[in-house]
Point group: C2
Amino acid sequence: MVRIVVDGMGGDDAPRSIVKGAALASEEYHLHIILVGQEERLKEELARTKFSKGKISIHPASEVVEMHEPASLSIRRKKDSSIAVSVDLLKEGKADALVTAGNTGAAVAAATLKLRMLEGIERAGIAIPIPTLAGHSLLIDAGANIDSKPKHLLQYAVMGEVYMSHVLGVKNPKVGLLNIGEEETKGTDFIKESHRLLSSSGVNFIGNIEGKDIFTGNSDCIICDGFIGNVVLKVAENLAESIAELLKRELRKSFLTRLGAVLAKSAFLNLKKKMDYAEYGGALLLGVNGRYVISHGSSSPKAIKNAIRVAGECVNHHVNKHILERLANQSPTT
Amino acid sequence: MVRIVVDGMGGDDAPRSIVKGAALASEEYHLHIILVGQEERLKEELARTKFSKGKISIHPASEVVEMHEPASLSIRRKKDSSIAVSVDLLKEGKADALVTAGNTGAAVAAATLKLRMLEGIERAGIAIPIPTLAGHSLLIDAGANIDSKPKHLLQYAVMGEVYMSHVLGVKNPKVGLLNIGEEETKGTDFIKESHRLLSSSGVNFIGNIEGKDIFTGNSDCIICDGFIGNVVLKVAENLAESIAELLKRELRKSFLTRLGAVLAKSAFLNLKKKMDYAEYGGALLLGVNGRYVISHGSSSPKAIKNAIRVAGECVNHHVNKHILERLANQSPTT
């Protein structure tokens, strides 16, 4: 059975939401889950929850990296933190994939320090599926690396292509570079150099795309530096919530609009489901030597359950093996 | 009467939308409008439109800078383009403010080359009002300058403060720096240095804000480099449209949801109005020695009309005078 190690203490509502999510996953998927963290607290939460006996075990870790601690430092100092121990288990082959909803910086630092990179990859990138009018696109990097070089963007492109084709089944996925204009003369020197590199690589590069093109879904992989990716992601999340809130306020204003809202409820629920990050279950940290899913800090139990599913899929689809093969066949410009 | 010079040939649907917008403005506001561009074409469009006689005049310019031409080059080469001639009229004092919906890069280049900067400002910034849960915030820079230094961000902050307080009447506006985390240790070196500079300035700086904080409206001025500002703006615009499209698709799915949509129509229209960029009429190019409004390339006549209104407001509120006064009182760290 595929074994998923889950950082039991990482997340805004940890360990409660994490344990509940693991419990849901244990009932739904054919996976073994190793919850890592403070034993007593995890046991306490498990005792309160229905789960599939024998499919969840606990592995102790005494320390916790808090959500706002400095990333690398906390990994170096807290050797027995739930995230550090989780990564150790993955590294030692005692688990096949990892899920954490903890401090993203610490999660990335633990992965890069302990697992190292795949051969040919210099920087890990957070790859996150985002809903579009056409289905889904993959944004990479959503914040692992905020000082990337053009060659890192090319590596993201290769990894994104592999993920989209092998996991999501998109044939010959299109890769777009996020910029402030479509023309190749647009943007900073960093972006222009990245454009040149992507153009001469074996990647199916469709050129620059703008912020306005992201949600139309013209591009299957959206490549950018982690700073911009992180801002875009948080803007999108918050704007969607703000629009929902503004609409709710408007709908409350009269009897007719309230009635209309009741009748149209199923449409709102379907839309909400489509936009809900919890359905997708988290982002992948691509490029590290291990299967690594990073969930939103505010993940609900459902989001954690889905993150565990995604981690299992990564195991079954051999993403890292395909990335290595793809890099071996890459043109010499990379 | 306040005189607004309008680039008649700039915009996706120029000169038609521009002339129609000018005509609407002539009927609604106490302003004189100078339309600049190819005389015959402008006359032709005017002849088709109802407008307030005596409040619109035409000034000839034989050339047009197309939407995708390289910015500075086209300004240097096309001396008789509608944007170049419009800026000349502003510079010569033959108009009090300018409106253009043309090539943004060319509009910024023409302004900075011909008008020069306000004393104490090194780079112009595009300031755009965005709707939030709390009302409006001002995002600056939305794309005038994609290689900014920390001191430029401080200059944006000062200009944003002045605009929010003197034009929009916000008392002691709060300034936030767009970053990937709230802690001052987060972000690139550029961001950390900007944070230090803003902290020690006289600006009402509330610290870093994240993409998720933009639309909550906690910060009155959102300060960022033009690359990120431009991407954020286009992402937000497109996401809002995509959500509307997805909701429409869901609402069409059954009789009940269609009926609900009809009953709730006023709520949707109110929301649309709140989110509609055309209501705000354009962005200000702050920092140049002249009042300068840059509208969206796809501006509707209504958007142009509102841009002309905003240009008139800038004249009446003496924004540049207040910026100069504010800079004169600025602490020596700037």
